[in-house]
Amino acid sequence: MKRRRLAAIIIAALGVFAVIGPARAETTLRVVMHSDLKIIDPIWTTAYIVRNHGYLNYDTLFAMDAKGDIKPQMVDKYEVSKDQLTYTLTLRDGLAWHDGKPVTSEDCIASIKRWGAKDSMGQKLMTFVKEMQAVNPKTFKIVLTEPTGLVLGALGKPSSNVPFMMPKRVAETDPNTQISDTTGSGPFIFKKDEWKPGDKAVYVKNPNYKPRSEAPSGMAGGKVAKIDRIEWKSIPDHQTAVNALLAGEIDMIESPPHDLYPVLKADSNVKLFNGNPLGNQYTFRFNVLHKPFDNPKIRQAVLHAFNQEDFLKGVIGDPAYYKTCKSFFPCGSPMASTKALEGLLDSNFDKSKALLKEAGYDGTPIVLMHSTDLAVLANLAPVAKSLLEKGGFKVDMVSMDWQTLVARRAKKDPPPAGGWHAFLTSWVAADILNPVMMGFLNASCDKAMFGWPCDKDIEGLRDAFARETNLAKQKQLSDQVQLRATQYPTHIPLGQWYGAFALRKNIDGVLEAPVTVFWNMTKK
C-alpha cells in the first residue's frame, strides 16, 4: 500500500515537472569595468564609468551607428522644416520608464534642458534653441533661432555627457545637484538597493523594454538584452582581476592592461576582443597662459620635435594595438584628415631648434606633469621629455598620481608656483569626432578647458561648423580648424591606440561600439 502511494507521488511529481518544463537558468554576467561606480548621475559628471552606467539604465533619442551616422533611437520619426528651424520629433510606441509610466514629450524636453545646461556640446546647441514645445504626449518640437547642423549630432553624441532621457520629475533636478532617483527607460534596470560602491553595481534585464527592430550597429539599432543580470564587480587590482577571469569567477574585464595580454592569450578559455574600432587618441596639451607656451611659434616647435611612433611604442608596445594617425580627428571617423599635418610630427629636431631660436626661447624649463599611476599614461611624459630636450627645450618633469594631476591642471598659477606648462592624456575617439565635440579645440579663453587657448579664428571656425548643416562643408571647415590648430596649437595628437576586452570563451554577441555596451551579449 505504502509502495503504491509512493509511486503515485513520484508519478504526480514527474507530471508536474513535465507540465512546467525545465526552468531556464538565469544568466549572470560578471564584469570588471575600468573603474568603480561611485556616482550615478551621467549628466552631473563626465566620468566614463557613469556614462557606461547610463547606457544600461537609460535610453537616448538618437544614437550613432557603426558608420558614424546618427539614427533615431527612442525617436520613431522626425521632420525638419524647410527653413531648417523646426525639428519635430515623435517618440516610438511603447516607450516606458522602469516604473511603468509612459515616456512623454515633457520628460524628453526636461531631459534635454538639464543636459544642455551641463554638456559643452549641449550648451552650444542650446545657443541655437529658441524654444521646445510638447505637441502631444509623443511629439515635441525643437525650434531654433537659426539653422544648425548640431541638433542630431548633439542629441546622438555617443560619449560624455550623453543626452540620456529621464522622467520629468528627475530631469528637473538642478543640473549641479546629483540625482538620486535612478528611474530610466533603458534595456536594463539599475538595482540601486544592491549597489555597493567599492563592491558591485547590479543591473537586471528590463522585461518591458521595446527594442528597435533594426540590427544593432554601434550605439544604434535594436538594444536586445539577452543577459538576465549584469554585475559590475569592483576589483581594482589588475592582476587579481585577470586571475579571477582565468579562474572563471568573472566573465569579462573591460580594459585589462596591455602588459597582461600575453597571459590572457595563453589561456584557452579566454579571448580578447577589440570592441572599440575607433580606439583612443593620445594627446599633448599646452597651457598657453604662461611663457614659453604663450608663444604659438614655440608650441609649433613641439609639433616638429614630436613623432607619434615613439609615444605609441613606449606605452602600448605591440603594433597590433596602435597606429600613427596624423590627424586631430580620429582616423576612421568622418572628419579625419592629414591636411596641414604633413611634414609635422616627424621629430625634425633641427627645425624645432630653429623655431625656438626664431621665437627667442629663453630656456625657461617646461613644467611637464607626469602621471605615474595609470599604466596607459605612465610612459608618455618620459618620451615627451626626451623628445622635447632633443628639440631644444629644457624640461622639468614633475611626477604625480593622476588625481593630483587632475587637480593641478585646473590651476592657472604660474608653473613655478604650482601651475603647469603641459601634460599628456588620452581621449576616447567618440569624444573628439569633430571640432565642436573636441574639448581641447575650444579656444574661448577663460571658458575653454584647462590650458585656456584663446583664438578667435578657431572659435569662428567652430561656430561656422556648428551652423553648417551640409556634411561636405562641415568637412571643409573641419580641415580649416585643423590647419589653424597647427598655426595656433592648442594640443598635439599623438596617435591612436586600442584596448581589448578580455572575455571568457562562452561570452558572445559583443558589439563593436565607441562605448562598452551590454545589449546583444549572450552567455552560454
Binding site: K38, G198, D237
Partner: protein
C-alpha cells in the same frame, strides 16, 4: 580598576584631538582636489569651481575644520563626497569583512605563532629553532602583496581549491564565508605569525632560565606542564603587548590584502577614499582606526592584571 579605565578613556580625548588635527591638515596639504576628480575628465574650470563651492572647499581651512570637528563631536562624520552617503553608513557597511579578516588572522596567528615560538625556544640552537626563525625572517621580509599573489597562483589558479577574490557575508552562508577568507587571512597572518613567533621565542627563552622554572623541574614536573604553567604564563606579558602593538601592522596589512583580494572592507574604503581625495571618508576611517587602536591597547594593559597578579592599577 574602574578609576584607571576612566582615566585612560579620558586620556583618549586629547589623543583623538591630535589625530583629528593631523589627519585634517595632512589631507589638505596633500596635492589633489576632490572637486576636480568628481567633475570628470571633460569638465571645465567653471565646473570644478562650482563643485568646490558646493562642497565648501573654498572656505578657509580653519572654518572647514571647525565645521567638521563640530559634526564629529555630535557623532556625525558627514557625507562622502563621492558616494553621497553618510560616512558612518559607509563604515558600517564595510566593518564586517575587515572584522572577519582581522579576527581570523588573529586566531591563526595565535594558533601558530605561539606554539612555534615556544618550540623554537625549547629547542634552542637545534635545527627546529633555526628553521622556525628562518621561516619567520622570510615571512616578515616578503611583502604582503607578493605572498598574496603566490598563494592565489598556487591555491586558486593551479589547484583551483579556493576562490581568487571576493567576500561573502556570513549571513549568505558559512562555507562561502570561510572559503573566501582562507587565502586573505593566511596572507595577512604570515607577517603576523613571523612577528609573534620571534617575540614568543625571545620571551620564553628569558623565562626558561628563571629560578622558578628550575625549581619546577627540580620538583619533578614534566616539560609540558612546566612550559604551559610556569613559562608561557610568565612570558605572556610581552607577547600580549606585541600582539596589541601589532594591530597597527594588521591594519596596514588589511589595506593591502583587501586590495589584492578584492574584499570590500575598511581597507579598500580607505584606499578608494584616499585616491579620490574623499576627505570626510578618509578622516572618519582614520579616526575609527585610531579609536580601535587606543581601545585595544587599553585592553592589553588591563589583561596584564590577569596574567601577572603583581600588576595593579
Amino acid at each position: 580598576m574602574l578609576p584607571y579605565i576612566g582615566r585612560r578613556l579620558i586620556a583618549t580625548i586629547p589623543v583623538m584631538a591630535v589625530v583629528a588635527v593631523v589627519v585634517f591638515s595632512l589631507l589638505r596639504l596633500t596635492a589633489g582636489d576632490p572637486a576636480a576628480i568628481i567633475a570628470g575628465d571633460n569638465a571645465t574650470s567653471a565646473d570644478v569651481a562650482a563643485i568646490r563651492t558646493r562642497l565648501g572647499l573654498d572656505r578657509p581651512l580653519v572654518e572647514q575644520f571647525v565645521i567638521w570637528i563640530g559634526r564629529v563631536v555630535r557623532g556625525d562624520f558627514g557625507e562622502s563626497y563621492f558616494f553621497k552617503r553618510p560616512v558612518s553608513q559607509l563604515i558600517l557597511d564595510r566593518v564586517e569583512p575587515t572584522l572577519a579578516l582581522a579576527t581570523v588572522t588573529l586566531v591563526l596567528t595565535v594558533a601558530f605563532a605561539i606554539p612555534l615560538g615556544v618550540l623554537a625556544a625549547w629547542k634552542r640552537g637545534t635545527w627546529i629553532d633555526r628553521a622556525v626563525m628562518g621561516v619567520s625572517v622570510l615571512g616578515f621580509s616578503v611583502p604582503v602583496f607578493v605572498i598574496g599573489y603566490v598563494l592565489i597562483y598556487l591555491f586558486a589558479i593551479e589547484l583551483a581549491w579556493l576562490p581568487v577574490q571576493g567576500y561573502q557575508r556570513l549571513r549568505d552562508g558559512v562555507p562561502g564565508f570561510v572559503q573566501r577568507l582562507i587565502l586573505p587571512s593566511v596572507t595577512l597572518a604570515v607577517v603576523f605569525v613571523a612577528l609573534i613567533a620571534r617575540i614568543t621565542r625571545a620571551s620564553v627563552l628569558e623565562v626558561l632560565n628563571a629560578d622558578h622554572v628550575r625549581t619546577a623541574r627540580a620538583k619533578g614536573l614534566g616539560e609540558l606542564p612546566v612550559l604551559l604553567r610556569h613559562v608561557l604564563r610568565n612570558a605572556a606579558v610581552p607577547i600580549i603587548t606585541v600582539i596589541g602593538i601589532g594591530i597597527a601592522v594588521l591594519i596596514g596589512g588589511v589595506v593591502v590584502t583587501e586590495s589584492v583580494y578584492g574584499i570590500p572592507g575598511l581597507g579598500r574604503l580607505t584606499v578608494d577614499a584616499v585616491l579620490a581625495r574623499d576627505y570626510p571618508t578618509v578622516q572618519a576611517v582614520i579616526l575609527v582606526f585610531s579609536v580601535v587602536y587606543v581601545l585595544i591597547n587599553l585592553l592589553v594593559d588591563l589583561s596584564y592584571t590577569m596574567l601577572d597578579p603583581r600588576i595593579r592599577y
